[in-house]
Symmetry: D2
Subunit: 141 residues, 4 copies
């Protein structure tokens, strides 16, 4: 079960990323091997065609996976991404995006998760990603 709450993760992020905007991602749920985050729509996420940019969804993917790992292992901000693979399936409209991360493996050294992203209120997935994090060994934390 998770050992950090949404509030604790959020406070840790604001401490280690002091430049993070106030109205950034909102953690909506934390459960066993699971985190759900809302990315409130911002005009600077737009790209030509009036859809949200790829990098805005990649950043969301990487962040929700980071939250899901921290929720389970506690405040280890030195966990780092080693691989991320993302498929963009539908053009996300200018709206909030909901990202759900489910951890598929949480080992001593590696965590693997998948992230599903939806435009608010829509059923079809806009993007899907898998992500691997390397967890620092106890003596390097």
């Amino acid at each position: 079960m998770p050992i950090m709450t949404a509030e604790q993760i959020d406070a840790l992020m604001r401490e280690v990323f002091p430049a993070m905007p106030e109205d950034f991602y909102r953690i909506e749920a934390v459960a066993d091997h699971y985190v759900r985050v809302r990315m409130p729509y911002r005009e600077d996420y737009l790209r030509p065609g009036g859809t949200l940019s790829g990098p805005s969804l990649m950043t969301l993917t990487d962040t929700v996976m980071y939250y899901a790992v921290l929720a389970m292992i506690g405040p280890q901000p030195l966990a780092v991404t080693t691989n991320l693979n993302i498929n963009f399936m539908r053009r996300p409209e200018p709206a909030d995006v909901i990202a759900e991360c489910r951890l598929l493996k949480l080992g001593a050294r590696l965590a693997v998760g998948e992230v599903s992203m939806y435009s608010e209120g829509k059923q079809d997935m806009v993007a899907h990603a898998t992500c691997t994090y390397s967890i620092p060994p106890p003596d390097k934390r």
Copy 2:
């Protein structure tokens, strides 16, 4: 051979992404199926551990691939990423990053490329990515 110059790509980007900072990426070379970009170091790319964040390199990957496609096919800003896979191999120090994109396939509908990233002045790759773009058909441009 490329049909857009570095200056033309840069001007197109500033037109379609008006919020892009003045001191953003610099296109250092454009050649056949190849673009090289410099990402000048900015403090807001940092993450815990004093290295550059994953999303800063993902955004660089996606952008240099976009530039490489535009260089070859001309100003088609509606080209979109369909898949991106990135491996992070070494922790990038706080310094400029050089990204080289080589197109492996440039079809009528899909382009596939690989992107190699280096910290300035270093030989070891910090990250490597492959990326697929969907090119809009003529009637949807």
Copy 3:
């Protein structure tokens, strides 16, 4: 909803892959955007360490995705893989493997799916993959 049954997919496979062994994969379920396949254990899947080889699971991934696409679009054997990404999470013991494919997108030209693999009777996923297929346009079938 699917327009091919397990029996029809199996018969098509035996027609287009005449060398397929009699005791090869078994299609256990076909449903909306979903196929489940059993890979009966064979000694020649083993690799050093006494676990199933990576290529045996990659072949399973690619095949169950193929079945899921055919189930939905009908007998179009010229559909081809364009991207496959697989994460190996636990060493699969020498036993049957169950693979579940869920289609995340089924467009006119591209299908994207995810495949989860389990050792028979175990709950933890041994491998997870995402896969993209290109669907031939009507005039190239």
Copy 4:
């Protein structure tokens, strides 16, 4: 520099995979962080459309990466794939395939490489892959 020769790798493979056919892959070159392998054409690699199957190229990818790792670290057959990502770019004709693996990172615990595949005598790449191997720690070899 490599510490195993092509002959030594081949002999190790025949020892740990006794069922490997006599006329299987041929190691054509072993150099620093680099291995080149030829996959002689076999009719059972064919798929509908008269091209080589995806799984035949995935197996080649995984194997040439395995050889490249073994060449550098010595006979450690328990090294295992953790991630493989492959893009299929052109339909490979019924002919030998040449696969070149270049290691991008060779750490104590993880190796990352890229594999480029060509039909014999052709210049355009038919497929490109990246692959990560986990290297067993000294006490688990």
